[in-house]
Symmetry: C2
Subunit: 199 residues, 2 copies
DNA sequence: TATTGACAATATATGCGTATATGGTCAATT
DNA sequence: AATTGACCATATACGCATATATTGTCAATA
């Protein structure tokens, strides 16, 4: 049954896209299955061929967004074109992880709740995504340390500790950012100085 | 009239102390003037000799806490005993500004709302305090730059830009901190590396 | 003169019935 | 096999009335 279809199912994806616009515009509560179905151009009943219920749509949407952000972040950390140094790669990962989401949050009324770690429906997904991102960062820091790109020992930091400070510090830079450009500027400044301190 | 008494008025202060315990324990809405009066050992009516109304108590409480934190932060930035370098002084300021408040937030159910910048009652005070703290940081950074303790130009940063990144980055370190000790550790790591990058 | 009990106006909580909206299911249809 | 209209149970929105709680004021008091 479609329920088990692979992620690339175009119809299932169309539903998620419609759900995203509705949820981010009106929030979970104020969005009805009818709204999602209409936006996706299908009947309400057929939504249940692809998802178990409304909450599952929300969770799958949240999971899908986080997966995309994580994949982009991982790609940034692995990037080789232009031979970016560790600071550039981490900056790219932070942009992938934070700047993208920030855009949704600042430009849609209820975009925030999709990424809210206190949200009953997807809080666990947000936390898991956050933990995985930190692990990616830690791994990249460890590799850079081995490659002598940075000197963790000299700074008295373990790779996980450095990753934690980078992730949380970068997260704080979102506060009060009027637009994505501002956030990117802050991220660049933060990363530049921080990695200069890890030489 | 007492209404205009100076801040040191012990009775007025006792009311603020009681209000703090009640507000941080039950929140503004669920705290009644009766609760505050009882906790302060006075009649409800006499509260109105010291404050115009319930909202004013809340605002004065918020303002008082922020003033204290700012005063402590400023003292840390001016500290001379032990000849602390700029990194140590900033670390002290961040602890004064964030770690103190964090303790209240983590240990009381509704402590957060007193520092919530989205709070209708005190949001303006929180933002103002935040701006003043950033100004203090910027001033200290500027002074350290002139004294050649740090090299802002080399990092491509203005003093306000550096202060912004420090304040917001440090603020992010609060996330998910189970206790104040954890936050302090993160702050120390952050400040150490960041200022090493400003050499 | 600082403090307070008592008072009036307002705000909040609760219950109830009804109308509407929504979620989830399933047999019928294409 | 995918899709859907129709169905039912539940949830939410609304109006309204009543009871209780709370706020802010003021004249009386100690």
């Amino acid at each position: 049954m479609s329920y088990m279809n692979r992620v690339e199912d175009p119809k299932r994806n169309a539903i998620l896209v419609s759900a995203f616009t509705q949820f981010s515009g009106y929030g979970f509560r104020r969005t009805s299955m009818e709204d999602i179905a209409t936006a996706a151009g299908v009947s309400r009943a057929s939504l249940y061929s692809y998802f178990g219920n409304k909450e599952e749509i929300f969770r799958c949407l949240s999971a899908s967004i986080h997966e995309q952000a994580l994949a982009d972040a991982e790609a940034a950390l692995r990037a080789t074109s232009g031979k970016p140094d560790i600071a550039r790669r981490v900056e790219g990962a932070l942009v992938a992880r934070f700047a993208r989401l920030q855009e949704v949050v600042t430009q849609s009324p209820h975009g925030r709740e999709i990424y809210d770690e206190d949200n009953r429906l997807c809080g666990d997904l947000v936390l898991e995504s956050s933990a995985r991102f930190r692990a990616l960062l830690a791994s990249a820091m460890r590799a850079a340390d081995r490659a002598r790109e940075i000197n963790l020992k000299g700074a008295g930091l373990s790779a996980p500790a450095a990753a934690e400070v980078i992730q949380l510090g970068a997260s704080g830079l979102k506060q009060g950012a009027p637009d994505v450009a501002t956030l990117k500027t802050r991220l660049r400044r933060f990363v530049r100085v921080f990695f200069a301190g890890l030489r």
